[in-house]
Amino acid sequence: MPETKVKTYTRADFTSDQAVRWCPGCGDYAILAQAQKIFPDLGVEKEKFVFISGIGCSSRFPYYMDTYGFHTIHGRAPGIASGVKLSNPDLSVWVVTGDGDGLSIGGNHMIHLLRRNLDINVMLFNNRIYGLTKGQYSPTSELGKVTRSTPMGSLDRPFNPLALALGSGATFVCRTIDIETKHMQAIITRSYSHKGTAFIEIYQNCNIFNDGAFAPMTDKESKADKVLWLENGQPMLFGAKQNKGIRLDGNKPIVVTIGKKWSVDDLLVHDEGDYVIASLLSNMTYQDDFPDPIGVLYAIDAPIYEDLMLAQINKAVKQKGTGSVQDLLDAGDTWIVE
């Protein structure tokens, strides 16, 4: 199908006149920069982009993109976004949220958005802390996290956003890291082209309240051993020397070293369409013995909610004809008073 020719845009077209007000050094800057770089190239008229956010540091994002944007209330971005998308399915709708906004106060909306599979993209900035309210633990903070609200350590086990998304029935689940600029661009492009709800977890460093939360995955010395870059159809290989891999021992994933005992052929091969593999990968999060998977864990085709909604409307019109309210008013048992 020939692509519709749209205007060409530059980064400046997507930059609003509002001064960016995140803390210096915040990971959000990197994410915004990549978005402003890649959105001009997605092939969509600028006026069709709508960014919807809730509350939190990440949720200031729409103010800085020169598109349509709505900075709403805490946790409710998925609801607002659903209304926007269902009203006008031609729009490209993006939810920008954080671990508190999207998984705590807005957790219910998030899981339902994912199961319905509207063609909406969710960028969840996960910094594992509450930044805007100055440093309380979040639903993704590790157990025992010492914060202002948990001076003796947090008591609740963290949510694993990718596992939650998979469990909610998401059709596209991926993860990237704030400072991995090229990867983030690729992920945004991939998410855009996925038809259905795309869930993007972005590891994002809060240098004020949770600095270094993802250091093992971002520091030069450690990252090769702590990140598993996912590529569809490729064996799960990682490490500075590319000599480590993930293999299934029965139904349990284990880390093995390539060498005498194991070869690359013994490794698990990534399959984006395999829910079990995606589930195994998602559960490597918070596991010290495993690298964190980065990339597309899961991508399947499934019916899109708004398509189904429109199909029902079309079917009803076909069956009943384009109705009028006057017909409804005049229907039923009526009588005439003279």
């Binding site: 600028k46 006026e47 609801g79 659903s82 409307i313 008013l329 009526t334």
Partner: protein, 614 residues
Amino acid sequence: MSKTTQKVDEVVIRFAGDSGDGMQLTGGRFTETTAIVGNDLSTLPDFPAEIRAPAGSLAGVSAFQIKFSSKDIHTPGDAPDVLVAMNPAALKVHQQELAPGGTIICNANAFSPRNLKLAGYEANPLEDGSLDDYYTVYDIEMSNMVKRACVDMKLPPKTVDRTKNFFALGLLFWIYDRPMQSTKNWLKVKFAKRPELVEANARAMDAGYNYGDTTEIFTTRYTVDKASLPAGTYRNVVGNYALSLGLAAAAEKSGLGLYYGGYPITPASDILHTLSAWKHLGIKTFQAEDEIAGVTSAIGAAFAGNLGVTATSGPGIALKGEALGLAVMAELPVVVVNVQRGGPSTGLPTKTEQSDLLQALYGRNGEAPIPVITSATPGDCFFVAYEACRIAVKYMTPVILLTDGYLANGSEPWQVPKIDDLPPFDVTFADKSKIADGQFMPYLRDKDTMARPWAIPGTEGLEHRIGGLEKEDVTGNVSYDPDNHHHMVETRALKVEKIANEFEPTEIFGKKSGDLLLLSWGGTKGSCRSAAESLQDEKKKVSHVHLRWVNPLPNDLGEILIKFKNILIPEINYGQLIKIIRSEFLVDAKGLNLVRGKPISSADIQKTAKDLIG
């Protein structure tokens, strides 16, 4: 034996039985037929929150009251003249409200020792003579009658027994001289796939009719003449259905897409059901995961250029409160319907109340004014829904529409409106012409209405950001400036106040001055109007004013109030409008506050009025 026919002006019948006895359906059929016969009527369904409470228990009693008349009536009636009690529990619950000398028609077969015990009777009231001094009692073996009527049909006994409500219906049709044909037609549609049920129910109804006609038990039939209603085409309409029609009419007339986001809740769910069935009109309905997503998705729809609507009841409004503040801040047209029910908390889910008025006016953080419109009758729900949509779009504001359980489920004959006769409803989305000096100003206001432009995503050149943070006027940029905040608080309030400038002069039923003004809002209009009519007949200097909008109040209300020596405000709450009236106008208004989960009766109002003015 000859039968006599007696003409009466009005009758109140209450059908009561077990939840499974089909009383709502029986009442509904009697209502449709009564409407076709041309009487004016008003109905009041009254059912338990439990879908099926234990059979025969007091908690499981479901009732349906209809008042019909040859005159113009405003309420479903106070005390019933006839009580149809399908079991002892129904008799126990409703007998005390029956008018003195009233008629009781019972299914004698249901008065078994077990059912009597469940209802708390030590002796059978049909046999111990306890009723005979006060009422005319007809105890009829309805279950046996329908069993005999269907004896050759080889249906399961349970199925046959379930037709007994149609026996009662047939009998009532005979007593009040009503035709059965429309109900027979209705049965054919209702049970299109079960012809045996069409036959069984029709036989039961015939049996009831013939029982009245041939036995010597009933000696008198009653006729109620046609009511003299204004000429036109009429239908019977239920409040929630009328409201749904009003929303659809607003969408059609304005050309806007109608988006409805909601979560099931009694007594509002029928609006969701009704709109969901009208997909052929292009209406989009979304059953959200909760009340919050219902309203937020409606706000999103409004942002995207649809007419965003949500409906709920009080507990749902509580959950939507924060989002309503967002709609105020973002100045988006969203219509929020509250079908009020008994509260607080879960309260009385199936009973009516007017106790969410202050919640509608003030139930949000910050200074968050929202226009509040209220419906007076089931049919009025259509017009106020249309008006709520029109005002929301014209002024770019959320609007709260208050109805209640009584209006939502009640019905009345309704002159079918013409879409062409509705007020004009034009919408203009902002386009590039709104760009000045290369910039679009999302909070640059219309001079007359103070509405901001409706600039919807997809419009080239108007890309802009809005949100819940305070806005700088004109630009819409985030602003923490103290004077700007004060200015915006004032602006949002003024915008709502301006709506009153387009109200018609307030109608006063009665003289412009006098001893007493009855002031009503919402569903108490009918009772107040009836009371005012009766009191005026007694030469009392009583007038009635009804408020359609509670925010803003009509500009002329203050001048009206001061012309009366007394003001009485009947409300099904503990005193809410009265607080507004007293504080706004510094008048010594009195309240009549009965919070019993049912409409305030005209008799209650008349009594209180007489206590006030003698």
